[in-house]
Structure formats: structure tokens, C-alpha cells
Symmetry: C2
Subunit: 213 residues, 2 copies
Amino acid sequence: MTGWEDIRAEVQARIRSGVWPLGSAIPHEEDLARDFGCARATVNRALRALAAQGVLERRRKGGTRVLAVPVRKATVSIPVIRAEVEATGRRYSHQIIWQATGQENTLHLETLHLADDKPYAHEVRVLHLAVLPPLPDLTAISINEWLVTTVSYATGEIAFSAAAADAGQARALWVPTGTPLFVITRETRNAAAQVITKVLLAHAPGYHLRTTM
Amino acid sequence: MTGWEDIRAEVQARIRSGVWPLGSAIPHEEDLARDFGCARATVNRALRALAAQGVLERRRKGGTRVLAVPVRKATVSIPVIRAEVEATGRRYSHQIIWQATGQENTLHLETLHLADDKPYAHEVRVLHLAVLPPLPDLTAISINEWLVTTVSYATGEIAFSAAAADAGQARALWVPTGTPLFVITRETRNAAAQVITKVLLAHAPGYHLRTTM
DNA sequence: CATTGCATTATGTGCAGACATATTAACCTT
DNA sequence: AAGGTTAATATGTCTGCACATAATGCAATG
């Protein structure tokens, strides 16, 4: 009867109805557990879920409070491009347009990803070779895919934006210069906080990144 | 010594090293618990985290398997625009450019959000009044903000894309027609799956949506 | 008066056991 | 052989208990 989802819903209802105003502290887990007639672990699970959702803020000893500014959080999947293309029933391929070694043992790569031989996305990447195992044959597998399966879980920053196609992007994607492109930039670091790679990925017009709340 | 984070790391290491190849099934929670010398609940926590990350797929009775196609998941915050603007030290304001009632008890709203009196984002919204409480005075509080604090948790779809500014967006945002804009479209539904509102939000050039992995 | 140190407190996490539930596989029926 | 029923199984979750950990404030100390 009292699952943690029910408790999450109840807590959220109390926040919405003003019983626990925005910015205020809510009772301790133990009190809530007594209120709801369940174990503290159950309350804990519910409150942790709400914290992950951006509704609550929790701090040891500080207790739990309702965020003053509610934040909606959405989880987006950043798939391997090959899988993304093949999921729509199209055939994936990629071409390395240009590559060069740069300062400090870096490799610069310009890649075009294609779906049914039509341009799908244009990628510019800098790889820091010192923090990577030897590279494979890049004509067989895309760097993107190789990295995902090779490098242990890494942290990183992602940014989404819109930008006008520059000359290189325009040429690769068969669009006029200045065309709005959906751009994803990524910076990936390994466990030791060393930068592994930086990527700028510009998608051909019509691209949408979808998710649910 | 054996926290659930350690176990998550170990499982991830085994996947990366090929002990558990992509697409293969991994042992049951009970077996893993014996292997790692911990309780099943601890293994469960670790595996659930990995499933949320997009590394594993879990099904009752079906067991746990490594996803054939690794997916990176990132959580993005969709903040209230006022908070987003004020977080950068600027002053928020908004203007309702146009509004009209449409078919089936809907309200159409065109809003401009400003930061230090400069255009920040252009919003076009359709509200389904039948599934909402009475609206407040919209000059005092933006719809966006009112909805977040008023409507109980709702599901919805979000899509990010890049688009060329149309005439209305160009005029509102002080940019030439055709300028690349970062666009967020949202469709929000209540618990009964009824559509509450649809939004198209076009951000002024320079906008970035950031997140970490 | 500043600083260090300790006790307090709320959340974070672990464990063992139990039952719930979804899903598959095996079985039986027609 | 097709189809429906049943049993087996792995995950999902709850409970009650325990200890760990971080953060806060108070107190003792120099």
C-alpha cells in the first residue's frame, strides 16, 4: 500500500499544496516514516528520488528542504551515432575528412557521419593520445564508438546550442553557409580529471534531440 | 569497504574489460552478492544505478544484461527562465506580446522573456484551460513559473533543435530573420495523460544548455 | 578572542530476511 | 501443433536494525 512511489507522490502533493512551502525545511526521515507508517528506508528512497528530480535538496545534518526554485530535470540519451542512425532504419557510414597531429601529442580529426550516404553530422575532435590506449583502425570503427566501449566511465561536460554553419560544416553537410545547425560540444575527462577528448558535433538540419520528463 | 559505488565500478570494469561482453547476460544478484561478499540489496543498488546510466538493461525474471549499444545519459535541468536569468546576475522581466483564445477552450500566448531589458527568449504557448485551475494575473508572474508551482507532477516530452528565426521571433529577439536559434519544444501532460500545454521556446543567439555526465 | 575539538544530528549506506510481481518456460489440454 | 494454464525465477521493494559520515554548534582551551 505504501510504496516509495506513493510517498514520493504524497510529499510532492504537500509541496504543491503549500503545506511545505518552497524553500522550507521538511520533517526528518524518522518523523515522516512514523507519519506514513513505513520504514525510514522507504522514506529515504522517496526523498532521494525527489532530490534527483530537482524538487528537494538534502544535506547531512542539514536535513531536507524544498528547493526555492523548482527545477525540471530531463534525462537525455547521447547515443552512439551509428546506433542512432540504424534505429531509423538507415545505413550508417562515416568518412574521415581530415586529420593531423597537433601540439602536446594530440590528434585532430574531422569526420563526417552519413545515413544512407547522406550527410548526418559533422564532427571535429581533438584526442589526447597520452591518456589513451593505442588507437584502432579508424576506417573500420568510428572514434566515437571505440571510445565508448574502450574508455572506462568518464565524467564530462556537454553543451547544446544552435550555430550557423561555417564553411567546413556547410561543405560537408551539403547546406549553405549560415544554415542553423544543432551543435553538441563535449569534453570528456578520465577518472584522473585529464582531458581525453573534445568534440564539436554539428547535425544536419532537421535533427531533434528528444527526451521525456 | 564494499559500498554500492565500488560494486558499480567493478561491474563497469568487467564490462569494459570484456569479461561480460556487450549484449551478454550477467549473473543474478544473488550470485554477485556472494561473489562480492555483500548483501543482495547492495548489488541491487549498484545494478539499478548502472541501468539508470544506460549501461545495463534489467527485466524481472529475464535477468540483467549489458546493453548491446552503450548509451550515455546526461541529465539536463530545465530551469524556470526567471531563475536562469537571475543566476547570471541580470534582471528578469517578461512581456506578453500577443494572446488569443482558440478552439476547444485553449489560450494562445506569445511571450518575450528579457534579461536586463534585452531579449532573452521568445515563447509561443498553447494552454488547455479545461485541465487547469483559474489563471492568475499573468503580468505579475510568468505562466512558466506559475505552472511549475501549481500543476502537480506531470510527464511530458521535450525536444531540442536548431531553427532559423521566423518573422515573429526575429522581431521579438532583435535579430535578422534566418538567424540560428536554439529551440526547446515541450508538451506537458497531467496524470490523466491530458495535454496541459505545448510550448515552443526560442532562445536568443549565444544560448547554451549545459550539463555534465 | 580565535581556534581547536567534541558531541549532536540527519542523512547515507549496509545487512538479512521476507514477500510482491513480472516474465519466462514447462506443461497440459484440445 | 496450437493455445492456454501453471510453476519457476530474477528483479522490485519493504522492514528493522546497525553503523558510517558530514555538518553544525557548543564548549574547552590557549
